[in-house]
Symmetry: C2
Subunit: 665 residues, 2 copies
């Protein structure tokens, strides 16, 4: 949202300037007219290729490159400041939230004499005597979660059969007792069967629940520790507790609904090893993903299939089947892989051990961006697989690489215009039409939906996936910056894309999607870093391109540009980054004082009691109470939404006039 | 000290193993015997060059490379742990130090209504109400410092003339009133002259002193804030105070004698710009230092001199002068530059704005290491200036660079053996003889020393310069690692160097040098990083060398090695680095509790009152009191030292049996 808005702010002046200055400069040459017989198209008349080698006109491109960089950096600096202050304002805004008082403690060392809970209590009573309030240990509730899930399913079936019985009470419904999807087995009375099953599961569940609370084996060495004041929590989250920096690790607790419970108990050494493994895996995924795909594609062609499964031979001899396999299957295999790629990356990020959904999303986005950069941007410019490129880059000298890429950039302009229209514009149109969710909904409705609750679930629009959509939009930003100085005619297409994206995502976020969590713009430093990366790439490529065009006297003038850009990034990081990882003591203190004055009798313990309980321990009623609580607050929201689902209604930020301006993308 | 000890621990097993395994493997080939007519020496018989191309024997070198890496990493891991725990133990040891209670606050924002001092007091009284004790603002005392210095000089002259008068009271001594070094001007009575001068200076000083304390213009926006408890100081140093992360910056106060006062008031934006400028300057210094040197060398030869200064012509026609200029001057110009290099780097670091002497030393050491790496190591292997290398590296492909360097490495073994003997062994011998300080002392004694105080000052051995000596020793470590798998015969030479260095520096540090400050091993992470750099360089070069020797099937086995080494570095950094930048709350709390129990009536305010006063404000007597205070504690030191100067006697660390084990190098 804010992202696309920033991009628009950056790109509108760049587009105007680039069209006004560079198009005439390029157009009034006639280099390409003389060599028209080669593969140049009309668009190239307006691009840098139309300028003769060694011309003094390259100074215009060079100057514009400086102008674009400074403009982008200026907007970025301003936006970083705005986002940081909005984030602090949001955190400081009057609403009380459990995560303001709570710190997540991990890697609590084992103690032979005390339980984890006692140990944590004693530790914080000693070292934060004036501020410690209470704590909530983390239970290993995987098994319980499964049981609860199963019981819910059974309850759903029971509801279905009871409904059936109500409608037609002449005959008690029956079902098949066991086995594969209830397709075979002995016929039994369905209502009795499911009632008894639910009874059994309830008993199991109760036993497991008791087990968890009594058996210390189920207690993980992590806890949510709450403090009397925000000041106390801010101090504890930002300091090191003990001599060993790998035990008693404290950090801000994520929002309760943002916690990824499974990763809370990973020990420190294991974390670093997991990160190493995933870095290597990402490298292989990016550069060698084509290997398994080719393997599957090979298996998926006729000969491969016939070899692997000879019994299919009669089938594959049929003409239609044969042409389908030969024509579509290889493409579909690749498409399926690309559709599942964000999920694969998310699984990789989960394996790395991040503890909040927002961090997982951010990490997946970084991985996805690298993949897109290598396999879409580079692979389109220099044809060949990523692996082949890697090989050729290793064998090229450091100053050859930007040249190789730079030279082919102007020639690919037409391709990228098509790409923007097919992938970008169509993608946005698809987003507003939501065709796939519509189809999925109707499929689900016909085959799976049995009760009202099922229908509600099938209609759930889900939440926007930052990890999958932001890197894709970043690609267009990169294209815009790279072509701004080279083929300015590409810019209006990107501008239209951003305009559409702004309108559509604004609508979707306000009216369609649920908000899974509130990260308070924690993703911004990542976005900023990727924009800087795009800037540096565009500068390097321009240097490469100019140096092949015998503009030898002007090219060295460009070299300070990447140095300054990287320095600018460091400056911004020092200046603003801490707003995204730390909570200033002054703010905490002011809020504490205000609250004490306003609500002197506030029972904070009661407020925090159930905030960080594992979701399976929360009762249904409890859940409803919270959501109706939030419903009440929604009345203050500035923009009335058209949504009907009352699941996870978002909290408005109350800062700007634009609603939820901090939502991802 | 500890550094050299670590290196010995790493190198003794490597040397033994390398000599036992690789020398026989290399020696039992006869490749070089067949091509004896080329430029190979006897040493090459024992090196990797003696193995025929494509031989299976390369597996031995490969295996040893893994063994060396794992051994080095194992020792490093253990040492990092030991150093970290020694540091924490040192910080936690029973002695009370002012810096444990004190935090340095910088970038205090200006306030129209309050003075800096009031503003600081109010801020901390509000935000750290239970812990704030007092603060000491920082004055801009540059001018006062100059005055004090001048008065001291005058006092010295006065002492000298009074001594002269005492010895020969028949005649009052005279001196020349003004001008260049007192060589011309009117003759006046010396004692009267200097007495009046001192009077004038004293008055100026008193006025300046009053000026500083009353005029708010002299107060810099920085202060040393002291807290009632270590816990309070630890909390304040590790947290962010306000919303703006560039104002009210808090960090641990360095030891009082470690503070670099001039840099305390540099604003944030200026800091980042200074760093950018110095990074660029370092790049040019490293790669283009030869340009100004050549210019001076050109001017310093006969023709240049005659052109630049024609009036010298009769002089340069004399044979002796001519041959001196032609033979020595160019070499001496380079030597003088190299002698002044650490000073130049230190000035650069000071410009970057670090606030403690130890940080300045660490930063200079990093710069010096980069310079040595490029201009000694690389320049010796690939002959040519650094600038020529840079040019050739840019034009080579990424996998060609290790090959180019790797191939020439075995050929340079003889050169480096000579280098180790000439520069390393002789340097150590020079260190123990302290020839230059001896000569300087006698020169000073003959020409400059006038009073007893002057003699004491001339005898001052100075303190060990971490920034100049550590990177030089690191170079030998790099050589050892690089040649361990290639020409093992080089290792005994390096081992002798480290052995000598250990004995000599141990003696020098205990008996000769003064300790300027106590950094409590804060330099260790830097040393660790440089050792890891050396490891990775040695691995890359081995990969390059093996890939040219047609050992194609074995080379890829080496690729995981640098990846694992870099990961190991990250692991160590996460595991131990925080011990060098943070002070755990638990430790602080334990120490506070102990102290409260032992000395319930301690007047902390009186203890801290003058701790962080600018040195020019401290009186002479005050200074003496402190040093006699420390003298008393010295009685507990385990090793009696032979030093006589009572300046800055070090504080023993009381941890191991080795005295001051944490001293640099």
């Amino acid at each position: 949202m804010l992202l696309v808005y920033t991009w628009l702010k950056i790109f509108i002046p760049i587009t105007i300037l680039s069209l006004a200055v560079l198009v005439p400069v390029n157009w009034t040459n006639s280099t390409l007219d003389n060599s028209r017989n080669i593969q140049f198209s009309d668009i190239d008349d307006l691009s840098i290729s139309n300028i003769p080698k060694g011309s003094q006109r390259f100074w215009a491109h060079l100057g514009m490159s400086y102008v674009f960089t400074f403009w982008t950096c200026y907007i970025l600096l301003k936006e970083y400041g705005i986002v940081a202050s909005m984030r602090l304002h949001f955190l400081a805004s009057a609403k009380r939230r459990p995560d303001q008082f709570t710190v997540l403690v991990r890697n609590v060392p084992p103690d032979p004499d005390e339980t984890v809970s006692e140990l944590i209590e004693h530790f914080f009573l000693v070292h934060h005597p004036d501020h410690y309030l209470m704590h909530q240990v983390v239970y290993d509730a995987k098994k319980l979660g499964k049981l609860v899930q199963e019981r819910k399913q059974m309850k759903n079936w029971l509801d279905y059969y009871e409904l059936k019985y109500e409608r037609n009470s002449s005959e008690r419904p029956t079902c098949k007792q066991t086995g594969f999807w209830g397709l075979h087995g002995k016929k039994v009375d369905a209502i009795d069967f499911y009632t008894s099953k639910i009874d059994k599961l309830s008993k199991d569940e109760a036993r497991e629940r008791e087990n968890i609370t009594t058996n210390p084996k189920y207690i993980m060495p992590a806890a949510f520790v709450s403090f009397r004041t925000r000041w106390g929590a801010a101090v504890c989250a930002q300091t090191q507790q003990t001599r060993n920096p790998t035990s008693w690790l404290t950090e801000w607790a994520p929002e309760p609904r943002d916690v990824y419970w499974e990763n809370l108990a990973i020990p420190f050494v294991s974390l670093t090893i997991r990160q190493l493994i995933m870095t290597v895996a990402l490298f292989f995924l990016t550069f060698f993903y084509i290997v398994p795909i080719s393997l599957v594609q090979y298996l998926a062609n006729i000969e491969g299939l016939e070899k692997a499964a000879p019994f299919l031979k009669p089938l594959t001899e049929i003409h239609v089947v044969k042409s389908f396999i030969q024509g579509f299957l290889p493409g579909i295999v690749l498409k399926i892989f690309l559709i599942f790629l964000p999920t694969i990356l998310m699984i990789m990020s989960k394996f790395e051990g991040f503890i909040s959904l927002s961090a997982l999303q951010r990490r997946s986005a970084s991985k996805y961006y690298i993949f897109i950069l290598v396999n879409v941007f580079l692979a389109s410019i220099i044809t060949g697989t990523a692996f082949e490129q890697l090989d050729s880059f290793i064998h090229q000298s450091a100053n050859e690489i930007p040249k190789t890429i730079g030279v082919s950039i102007p020639m690919k302009a037409t391709f990228f215009i098509t790409y923007i229209m097919v992938d970008g514009w169509a993608g946005i149109a698809g987003e507003i039409l939501r065709l796939i969710p519509l189809i999925t909904y109707h499929l689900k409705n016909s085959f799976l939906v049995k009760t009202e609750k099922d229908r509600e679930e099938a209609m759930d629009p889900g939440s926007i996936q930052f990890g999958a959509s932001e890197p894709r939009i970043q690609l267009y930003f990169l294209l815009g910056l790279v072509y701004a100085a080279i083929t300015p005619i590409l810019l209006p297409f990107i501008l239209i894309f951003f305009g559409l994206a702004y309108v559509v995502f604004r609508h979707q976020i306000i009216n369609v999607y649920n908000q899974e969590y509130e990260s308070a713009a924690a993703f911004w430093p990542d976005v900023h870093r990727r924009i800087i990366t795009a800037l540096v790439i565009s500068q390097m490529l321009l240097i490469g391109l100019l140096s092949t065009n015998e503009a030898a006297d002007s090219t060295p003038v460009l070299i300070p540009l990447p140095v300054l850009t990287i320095w600018f990034h460091r400056f911004c990081k020092n200046r603003y980054k801490s707003a995204f990882s730390k909570y200033p003591l002054q703010e905490a203190h002011i809020k504490d004082t205000l609250e004490r004055a306003r609500e002197p009798n506030l029972d904070l313990r009661a407020y925090l009691l159930n905030a960080y309980v594992h979701p399976v321990f929360k009762d249904e009623e409890n859940n409803n109470r919270v959501s109706s609580d939030e419903e009440k607050e929604l009345e203050n929201a500035l923009v009335p939404t058209k949504r009907q689902s009352c699941k996870n209604t978002p909290v408005s930020s109350k800062h700007g006039c634009s609603p939820s301006p901090l939502l991802p993308s």
